[in-house]
Symmetry: C2
Subunit: 197 residues, 2 copies
């Protein structure tokens, strides 16, 4: 059912979803908060997701005003002026779905695949229970459903990590500094788990 | 002089610069224009650049109002409220320098390294004169100065490609779609040429 990219000339159909979590996340003091939705997060991560063949990008926020903002952005690019101005953007943003909280996210994804996905969290800090990118790639390309969580603000709250199956390693570069935007981190994670280079 | 990451415990000192080009670039109809500066381009690419050990991120724009915008952003994060609110952002944005056009860019970089850098362009479309990421990584880690150009808008104008030494391959994923943001593309290119995974 799944073909590796480039092997058979057909695009592999991955059962891979991403979620961008706005609650519960940490602020800079480590307190649990809900963060605001950033317009370019939706664009950048949807475009990267479309490039690397994910199924859905879930935007997780319980706040009605933030959900309305997401709906406005999607409407502009799906049916408004943006849809004709830039159809490639429409194609990417078609991957986006809103959901209220992590409980609803897990229910939606499990219902879609008719089985529980493996849930992988991302963090800028190294934590126990890490799965390296090579093994993550092998599992994702095996065709089993996987859901990768990305946090906004200063990262997801500790209780999120307690309930996931594993963590992907932090993206580290050549030194100590690893303060990437979530947009950059998501792009690199997708490139690494796809392994096309 | 140059140590590979992780070999000696010290961070390698790369002579690697990035430039984000706002003129001359294409609009969606292929006409040459100057594009507006996007705030998050500076943040995201500077943060990724700091993570992967580049020397400088040059912002190329000839427009006085756009240069003023860049100076305002830098001032906020270097000496204004942002500097104390988020010192990690200050550290990343310290890599940013403004320059007027490509001629000035090439002069500045050559004067800094006291030799002409190898200039590599990036494009979402495959073109002749490509250098693959493995070879680009080998050359960059050899310690020779390299400058990687990224275009905004719908990509750099054809005359830019005519004067570079080589192009890096487009970032392609699992299918035909490769409309990444320049922020995502820069993050992936830095990760690939660093080869740390």
């Amino acid at each position: 059912m799944i073909q590796e990219g480039g092997q058979g000339g057909e695009q592999p159909v991955l059962r891979l979803d991403l979620a961008l979590v706005h609650y519960p996340v940490c602020n800079k003091n480590g307190e649990t908060i809900g963060s605001a939705v950033t317009n370019l997060d939706l664009h950048d991560i949807a475009r990267a997701g479309r490039t690397f063949g994910i199924d859905t990008l879930y935007i997780v926020t319980p706040f009605a005003d933030q959900q309305a903002l997401v709906r406005d952005i999607l409407a502009h690019w799906q049916t408004g002026h943006g849809a004709t101005y830039n159809p490639k953007r429409k194609e990417a943003l078609a991957l986006v779905r809103l959901c209220h909280d992590l409980a609803e996210l897990y229910e939606l994804v499990q219902a879609k695949w008719r089985q529980r996905p493996t849930v992988l969290a991302t963090s800028a800090k190294a934590q126990a229970n890490q799965l390296d990118f090579t093994e993550a790639r092998r599992r994702i390309f095996s065709g089993e459903p996987h859901l990768i969580l990305f946090g906004t603000g200063w990262g997801m709250a500790p209780e999120v990590f307690a309930e996931v199956d594993a963590l992907l390693p932090p993206i580290v570069g050549l030194g100590e500094y690893n303060h990437l935007s979530v947009r950059s981190a998501a792009a690199i994670v997708l490139d690494r788990v796809s392994g096309i280079h």
